[in-house]
């Protein structure tokens, strides 16, 4: 089946998500779709699967225009199958039962489950995926790559055998580089059977592995062609500049300074250059030995392949995960390990967790309480002071809606993240640790956050930022640490600190 999306345009209120983007998918080809966050990748996928209806443009399948009446049901009937990043499998049940969730339970006469038949089906599925497990094994025992592969295989089988187009929405994002091979081989087998595959990704390795490549920027196609003709540097350049040049929100924000946020008190940042945080051989549950120093008044980035320890770093330094060994000192004062979050906070280490949904904010409480939460004591019987503090954060980071009583969980991802960052900045950190702060955040919000982070640095705060989008760190960080196999493998400074070098090392 060939699919053609032509000149798609879609607006959400004042936001232009797709601005004349086109895409052509052909039988047996793997097509990689790249772009920075907010470039329209997800919107494109949602148009393809019928979730969004484009304001204008054309969707054609095998030459027949189907734009009118295109819906999730129509897309499914046409054979479009999507696999998302999180494989929806049942960890606490057997692989066979996870399979049955998609394929349905085979029944015996009388209606009881035909277990033997289910096991046979599952064994066949596992063999096709080249996964060496038994159907009775727990689903939770599967490795990341095995899960992803199984999820793809099950998606191709769900809703009958009608797979005509496979869409992988960041399906490899959670896989360590070394493990991705099993998954990619399986995808290739599916493509070789004559099915077009659209792969939304931000891994450069997959850019060269695919047959066709399209790079989106600001809702339009910036670059498209066969993968051997699309240069990696060009693609990288587009992904980096995408969005940043269009950070329109920055001018609209009310001018404010960190000083105002602190209500006249001096910040805790010390003179630039002094080492404020020293970690020596900090070890987590999954091993590793992290040694690093953070100085006052610098922004240090941390990148690295997934599973290599870069995710653990912010959690270990802030007490969100228990460190099992090593030494950690802030301003020369040794901190106990394992560290509790409250001890870290008392020492001035403030942490913005990567898992915004479960660890960032209190979804059912108002924005105001999310901003005052950790030190509500400061505001006890000081209503006016509390109102000023909340107002200050909302103004400084342009949190929308501007209503302090808005329920936090209803804010968009970018605004949630700004509110949490504001909470941390208001608490006058010595060390600010930001885990993937711009994940799923629109470019305008990202620029506001980056400006605030830079201002925090200028007041003498030490900042550590990790990111799954290394291309964003080049303009922000003073130096970047590469973390591999649980240790700091390399430090990039000055001329080494380019988008190309970051991307090359992160994958």
């Amino acid at each position: 089946m060939s699919v053609e999306l032509t000149d798609l345009r879609i607006r959400f209120g004042s936001l232009v998500a797709l601005d004349g983007a086109s895409l052509q998918l052909r039988d047996g080809e793997v097509h990689a779709l790249l772009g920075a966050n907010g470039s329209g990748k997800s919107t494109m996928v949602k148009v393809l699967t019928g979730v969004y209806t484009p304001d204008s443009g054309r969707i054609a399948i095998d030459g027949t225009v189907v734009t009118a009446g295109w819906s999730p049901a129509a897309a499914t009937a046409a054979g479009v199958r999507v696999v998302h990043q999180e494989a929806p499998l049942l960890d606490s049940m057997s692989i066979a039962e996870s399979v049955a969730l998609f394929t349905g339970y085979p029944r015996r006469r009388g209606g009881s489950i035909a277990w033997r038949q289910l096991r046979a089906t599952t064994a066949e599925v596992l063999e096709r995926c080249r996964i060496a497990r038994r159907p009775s094994d727990l689903t939770g025992a599967l490795s990341g790559a095995e899960r992803a592969t199984l999820a793809v295989e099950l998606a191709t089988r769900s809703g009958g055998d009608g797979l005509r187009l496979l869409v992988l929405d960041e399906a490899t994002a959670a896989l360590p580089e070394g493990e991705a091979a099993l998954f990619l081989e399986h995808v290739r087998r599916i493509a070789d059977a004559g099915v077009p595959v659209l792969m939304v990704t931000h891994r450069l390795a997959e850019l060269t592995w695919a047959d066709q490549v399209t790079v989106l920027s600001d809702g339009a196609v910036a670059l498209s062609g066969p993968s051997d003709q699309v240069g990696v540097p060009e693609a990288v350049e587009i992904m980096r500049s995408g969005g940043i040049a269009h950070a329109g929100g920055a001018e609209t924000r009310t001018s404010g300074t960190l000083g105002r946020l602190w209500q006249g008190e001096a910040g805790r940042g010390s003179g630039s250059g002094a080492v404020v945080l020293r970690a020596e051989g900090v070890t987590g549950e999954r091993g590793g030995s992290l040694t690093l120093e953070l100085r006052a008044g610098e922004i240090v980035g941390a990148i690295g392949p997934r599973g290599g320890g870069v995710e653990a770093l912010p959690r270990l330094l802030s007490g969100a995960a228990a460190a099992t060994g090593g030494r950690l000192a802030v301003r020369g004062r040794e901190l106990p390990l394992p560290l509790r979050p409250r001890q870290a906070i008392a020492a001035g280490i403030l942490h913005l967790p990567a898992d915004r949904l479960h660890e960032g904010g209190l979804p059912s409480l108002p924005v105001s309480e999310n901003i005052t939460l950790p030190d509500a004591r400061r505001f006890w019987h000081r209503r006016g002071r509390e109102r000023d503090a909340v107002r200050g954060v909302i103004d400084y980071l342009d949190v929308r809606p501007r209503d302090p009583h808005a329920v936090f969980g209803r804010l968009s991802g970018g605004n949630q993240q700004k509110a949490i960052l504001g909470r941390l900045l208001r608490m006058q950190p010595t060390v600010l640790i930001l885990a993937d702060p711009t994940y799923g955040v629109d470019p305008a919000a990202r620029e506001i956050m980056f400006d605030a982070i830079r201002e925090a640095r200028d007041t003498g705060i030490a900042v550590l930022v990790t990111s799954t989008e290394p291309e964003q760190l080049s303009g922000l960080c003073d130096r970047v640490l590469l973390i591999e196999d649980g240790v700091v493998a390399e430090e990039l400074t000055d001329s080494d600190l380019t988008v190309e070098s970051l991307l090359a090392r992160a994958v």
Partner: protein
Amino acid sequence: MSATDTARRTDGKPVPGRSDAGRSHPLALARGYETVGILAVLVVVFALATSKFLTQQNLVNVVSVQTITAVMTLAVLFPLIIGEFDLSVGYQIGFLAMFEAEIAQHVSNPAVVMLAGPVVGALVGLVNGMLTVVAKISSFIATLGVGILLSGATQGISHGQVIYTHIPTAITNLSRTGFASLPMSVWLTLLIGVILFYVLEHTPVGRFWYAIGSSQRVAYLAGVRTNTLRVLAFVLSGVLVGVAANFSLAQAGSANPGYGPDLLLPAYAAAFLGVSTYRPGYYNVAGSLIAILLLAIGFNGLSLLGVPFWVQPIFNGAALLVAVLVARQETRQVRVG
């Protein structure tokens, strides 16, 4: 992921948040006070329908009887706010009343008897809290287990007999003497309500409890002493059940081994109903107390009009469902269980 995340902003115009919607609705002012309105309507209707309703004796009687339910409701409020259940409170009040009655057989000092309930209640709460927080058993199961265990203990210390001797008059006077024609138990309930209202709404500890209820993980990462505060919520619940046990001894003048379990569901019903009032979407003291008044006045008026006894549960159940449906927008967010 919402559209805002995946699309770029073309101009600086604010994206309207949902919380702004409905601001200008004519009934917006009444939002959160629907139950107060219903309560007022009921009072007017009953006052017009029967002359027996709006008498001092009747109204005093209504509020006096409700003191036990009111304190029990406040007792379940704390576990609910932190996202836990305490199912032991029904068995617990029966046990604590019986325990106090048994102490009264041996000790003549009324202060010892009166304090025995809250103190032992605090210990029971501590056990509930430790099982939930330290042993990490689901509070639903842990408190059910503790409750069943207590019901056995009640039977054990009473040998299945009602104890009606040697109940100190200091206790029975709680529901007989007072001032401004209201008995002490009513004034004490109001005092407890005011204190708890202050603690929950206007102290950091209260706000931390709500934060834990919204997300325990987030509260922990933000430096809140989540374990201590969670155990404390269960302990407070136990203390309040001890107070309610005193009120029940005062009202009945005796301790009955079968007493208690019937109080569990009305207490929860009032707490859930209270979610629709004062601070919509959150368990709160003011809403819970208004909910209790609503249920009590409703039943009282109906029984004065001569409806049979079995109408009370039907009225209570219907009131809960209707109130929650009316305030559905707010109450849907509340995590129950």
